[in-house]
């Protein structure tokens, strides 16, 4: 399970990730001294060694820039979704038309699927409830489901396709 102690795989499985951790450390301690930079780097090396076995696959993010764009869009959608959901909540409950629908996925990367499912849960009126690995579908509950096909199409174009690009 563990890679050889002599190998780079052992000492620096995710160099970028190590750097990220060091950066995060500096932010967290809020101190840009050399001491903390060294400490941050040390942690950046040490933590992946400990956790590498739990996360053996290399990250498959091919294009970081679209990811950032995606996240920005997500933020906007979250704000929008909150507004929508707030209104739905404040209106009388009998006006709700809740419903379930199954969303057929085209993504096949675990991380990407997770990202999509999270997105769905964070955005307007939908929560992803169950991922069926065999059929590669997501079971989604919508707070207000007018048209199933429309909902599926919206998710496809707005979220899944950008994600496909990022993880292709």
């Amino acid at each position: 399970m563990m890679p050889n102690v002599r190998s780079r795989q052992f000492w620096l499985p995710h160099p970028l990730f190590s750097l990220f951790l060091a950066l995060l450390w500096l932010l967290m301690v809020n101190d840009l001294s050399v001491a903390h930079a060294l400490l941050g780097l040390a942690l950046g090396v040490a933590i992946p060694i400990v956790t590498h076995a739990f996360w053996p696959e290399e990250a498959k993010i091919r294009r970081p820039l679209p990811l950032l764009r995606y996240l920005g869009m997500l933020l906007v959608d979250i704000l929008r979704s909150n507004l929508v959901v707030a209104l739905r909540i404040l209106r009388p409950a009998r006006q709700l038309r809740p419903g379930f629908f199954t969303y057929p996925l085209t993504l096949d990367d675990d991380f990407a699927i997770t990202l999509l499912a999270s997105t769905i849960s964070l955005t307007p009126g939908t929560v992803s409830l169950h991922y069926d690995g065999e059929a590669n579908t997501l079971l989604i509950h919508a707070l207000h489901l007018e048209d199933e096909a429309e909902a599926i199409a919206a998710i496809r174009t707005r979220y899944e396709q950008p994600l496909e690009e990022i993880f292709r």
Binding site: L21, V29, S33, V34, I47, A53, D110
Partner: protein, 930 residues
């Protein structure tokens, strides 16, 4: 030294038979006789000195603080008894040589008898009363072993236990009495005690003291109603009966009272207790002996009766009563031992001891008959016999009693009647055995007389009896009178035994003789009458009483200790309520006067919710999962309370701990029923609520009282020294790792042990069936949802980074090793949940137990580090360091200590969780996780 040798000879000699277990009985007897005779000779060599009134004392310190010294004393009283013990003992050994011929257990017998001889000598030769008590108890113990010699017989076991319980119990009482006596006299040395009679009798505890001592003496000397053990001791081999239960051990009580006579006697209480007990014993023994069909039983009861007689004499308080008592004591030993021997021979020759079957033995054992005629006559008190003299002395003394009034008439009449009985049973044992028709249905046929040599001990004792009867003055002058003087502690006029008595005593003797003979003559109807009386079997009574007592104890104890935790907890709570409540009643002012802090609505709300949540736990406790959720809520609000009142470290810790605890409980809950049955009745609930309410009210009152009282605390020291002395600004953390680091070391030790304990006792736990059936085959229930596992993996490194952050800042800001450790543990726990136990376990860098061990060792090693610099354990050091390039940074040994805390916490938490998870998953005993 000589005195010690007298005891040591038989004591060490007891080892000889044990060493030569395989030797023949004869050789064993010789080996055994050697020390006995040596002691006897030593005693005889001292006889002239002692008879002339000298008291030899030898002393060696043992436990002077206790007043218990190895002090020996030989005066005439002791000598009298010591001679009896060694002399008769030697003869008993001789007798046993024939009695045990061909028996495999002879060696054991000789060892025990010699041990007994030694401890019995110890009683009579002790100068120190506590030392005497040591021997006293030892005689009970050795006697227990001797009575139970034939341990395969139930009667023997019961008899042995009975004697041990009664005499041992008496010994305990005696211990009490002697301690009181020693306190009253100021010493346990007899030479002091015997001089302090006035002081002792005036002591406030004299009555209790006397009662306790008499209890000891009465039980040992088989006085009514403690006599019951003696007849049942007859299950012992006959040499034992002859030795212990007629000649020596049963005389220990009499010896003790004679010994302590100057210290205790001559009070009204003494007179009443001793005399009345003696009278009762005398009569009961004599009466029962009459009707015994068992030879040894008859002899035993007759012994009881004689012991009562001597006791009576000891109680009388007339000038010469003590002399009479001692004289009779010797006579009794001399005639009772041979009678027991006779019973032994007849028993062996016929195979039974039932006098209804043993008849006409004169035909078969003429020599034995001739020899036993003498002691039998002495027991009956026929003229010219030793018993005659002692009986006349008894009658004489009974007539001299002047006070109290009732006694002047009752006692003479009483002793005459007892004398009558004793004549009757003496005739009976002789006549019934040797005459009275033909033997009936004997198990051994034909009875054979023992070899002539075997009769030597009887012959010698019979001879002695005869000698005393014929020339009593010899015995009296050389032994009894000096002993009498030694016992009374004053020189006394001599007493001519041969010529004593007057017409009235003669008349009393005559009545006894004639009456006894008459009584025996009409025994047939009397026996039939007696047979109709309800049979009282002491053994059964004892056994029944014991069973009863045990059953009763069992019931009583198990009514209390019934294995119900609920009851025990109720007891504890009630105890708290009562003990504390009584004190709290005295509280004058609950409000200590410090002005109350202002209330704000949010706090009121939080407090209200905390209360509601905890009440919710109670209300919902039948539904376990909801109750668990509510418990989580209470924990959350406790966290909020800590945060509210300036304890961020506590809030952090409480939160982590709470969630971990809830997770652990939930793990456990998956094996338990999901509902608790409603089993409490309403009154029961009301009762428990009342108890709980009282405890809760107490806690509330307590805390209100404290909160409103002004505070004086040592904490200013910590606030002032935290930075300069401990190198940290977070005072709580500095206390934890520095000021009171020792506590923290203990705390992580507890955590580590708890985890290892969980590992240890779940290691071989089999979960054959789960209590809940959860059908995981549902379409939605895959074990490791992708979303969860993906996010969990993301969380892990970040959480570790956070935990490093929390760890490092802990010394200055809220945080520290414990919280960091829990964060790490939680992050890994998430991996268990997301990926499963096997998956996650195989990815751990280390096992958990060594992590715990390492953590503890790091903490300890940090503490030990200060030794190198000459400081005590856990002394901290900290400093600012400067490295080129790196710049200024701070290091404290406390950090290293905290690292130990961190490692222990991680290891312990994960060990518990993994092993709980293991129960369901790997489910293979022997498969160790962590």
């Amino acid at each position: 030294m000589t005195l010690a040798l007298i005891i040591l000879f038989p004591l060490l000699g007891a080892l000889l038979p044990a060493l030569y277990r395989r030797a023949t009985c004869r050789r064993l007897a010789c080996l055994a006789a050697l020390p006995a005779v040596s002691s006897l000779l030593l005693l005889l060599s001292l006889l002239p000195r002692v008879s002339s009134g000298e008291t030899i004392i030898a002393e060696l310190d043992w436990l002077p603080s206790l007043g218990l010294n190895l002090a020996l004393r030989l005066d005439a009283l002791g000598l009298l008894f010591a001679l009896l013990i060694t002399g008769i003992g030697a003869l008993i050994l001789l007798f046993a040589r024939y009695y045990f011929e061909g028996s495999a257990s002879a060696a054991r017998f000789f060892t025990l008898v010699l041990s007994f001889m030694a401890v019995m000598l110890g009683i009579v030769l002790s100068e120190n009363l506590l030392f005497m008590l040591v021997f006293w108890e030892l005689t009970s113990l050795v006697s227990f072993l001797l009575i139970g010699f034939h341990s395969d017989r139930q009667a023997a076991r019961l008899g042995a236990r009975m004697s041990l319980v009664i005499t041992g119990g008496g010994g305990l009482a005696l211990l009490g009495g002697i301690v009181l006596l020693g306190q009253a006299a100021g010493s346990y040395e007899l030479s002091v005690v015997l001089e302090a009679g006035e002081q002792i009798r005036a002591h406030e505890h004299y009555g209790l003291m006397l009662n306790l001592i008499l209890l000891g003496a009465f039980t040992k000397s088989a006085q009514f109603p403690f006599h019951l053990w003696l007849p049942h001791a007859m299950t012992a081999p006959t040499p034992v009966s002859a030795y212990l239960h007629s000649a020596t051990m049963v005389k220990a009580g009499l010896f003790l009272l004679a010994r302590l006579h100057p210290a205790l006697a001559d009070t009204e209480l003494w007179f009443h207790l001793v005399t009345l007990t003696g009278m009762l014993t005398l009569m009961v023994g004599a009466f029962v002996a009459m009707f015994m069909h068992d030879m040894k039983g008859l002899l035993a009861y007759s012994t009881v009766s004689h012991l009562g007689l001597i006791m009576l004499l000891l109680g009388l308080g007339t000038p010469m009563a003590l002399a009479a008592a001692l004289f009779h004591l010797v006579c009794h030993a001399l005639f009772k031992a041979p009678l027991f021997m006779m019973a032994g021979y007849v028993d062996r020759a016929t195979g039974t001891r039932d006098m209804r079957r043993i008849n006409g033995m004169w035909r078969f054992m003429p020599t034995l008959m001739a020899l036993s005629a003498i002691p039998a006559a002495a027991m009956a008190g026929l003229p010219l016999m030793s018993g005659y003299l002692s009986k006349k002395m008894l009658f004489g003394e009974s007539l001299r009693v002047v006070a109290p009034e009732w006694a002047t008439l009752v006692i003479p009449a009483w002793v005459t009647l007892a004398g009558l009985f004793s004549v009757a049973y003496s005739i009976r044992i002789f006549h019934n055995v040797y005459f009275n028709g033909r033997p009936i249905d004997l198990p051994v046929w034909p009875p054979r007389e023992p070899r002539k040599a075997a009769l030597t001990p009887i012959a010698l004792l019979a001879l002695a009896t005869l000698a005393v009867g014929i020339a009593p003055q010899g015995l009296y002058a050389t032994l009894v009178h000096p002993a009498f003087e030694a016992a009374r502690q004053v020189p006394l006029p001599a007493y001519d035994v041969a010529t004593l008595g007057g017409p009235r005593t003669g008349l009393m003797s005559l009545i006894a003789l004639a009456g006894g003979a008459l009584f025996y003559a009409i025994r047939g109807p009397l026996f039939r009458l007696h047979a109709r009386l309800p049979e009282v079997d002491a053994k059964e009574i004892f056994d029944w009483a014991m069973r009863r007592a045990i059953a009763l104890s069992q019931r009583r104890v198990f009514q209390l200790e019934n294995g119900s935790l609920q009851r025990y907890l109720t007891f504890i709570m009630i105890t708290v309520v009562v003990l504390v409540g009584v004190e709290l009643l005295a509280v004058a002012r609950w409000n200590g006067g410090v002005p109350l802090g202002p209330l704000d609505p949010l706090t009121v709300l939080a407090a209200g919710l905390l209360c509601l949540a905890s009440i919710g736990v109670v209300v919902f406790h039948h539904h376990r999962l909801p109750a668990l959720l509510l418990l989580g809520v209470t924990g959350l609000f406790v966290t909020v309370a800590f945060a509210r009142f300036s304890a961020p470290d506590l809030a952090l810790t409480q939160l982590m701990v709470e969630v971990m605890a809830v997770v652990i409980m939930m793990l456990a809950l998956s094996f338990l029923p999901q509902q608790s049955p409603r089993e409490s009745t309403r009154p029961r609930m009301a009762r428990d609520l009342a108890i709980a309410g009282l405890v809760g009210g107490g806690v509330a009152a307590f805390s209100f009282a404290i909160l409103t009282r002004p505070q004086h605390t040592i904490s200013d020291f910590f606030l002032a020294n935290s930075l300069p002395g401990g190198g940290g600004t977070n005072v709580v953390n500095v206390i934890l790792v520095d000021f009171r680091g020792f506590d923290t070391l203990g705390e992580i030790t507890v955590l580590g042990i708890a985890a290892v304990a969980v590992f240890a006792f779940t290691r071989d736990l089999h979960l054959k069936e789960r209590v809940v059936d959860t059908n995981p085959g549902h379409w939605v229930a895959e074990p490791h949802p992708i979303m969860l596992s993906t996010v969990a993996r993301l969380v892990l490194p970040i959480a570790l980074l956070v935990s490093a952050y929390i760890f490092l800042r802990g010394h200055n800001q809220p945080g520290g090793g414990f919280i960091a450790g829990l964060i790490t543990a939680v992050a890994f726990t998430l991996q268990y949940m997301a990926g499963g136990l096997v998956w996650a376990q195989s990815r751990m860098l280390t096992a958990f137990r060594p992590l715990i061990g390492a953590g503890l060792l790091i903490a300890v090693a940090t503490g030990l580090g200060s030794w190198l610099f000459g400081y005590p354990f856990l002394t901290s050091a900290h400093g600012h360091f400067h490295l080129p390039l790196v710049g200024e940074f701070e290091l404290a040994t406390a950090m290293l200590f905290d690292l130990g805390v961190y490692a222990t916490v991680v290891g312990a938490t994960l060990l518990v969780l993994a092993n709980l998870g293991k129960l369901m998953t790997v489910a293979g005993p022997g498969k160790e996780i962590g």
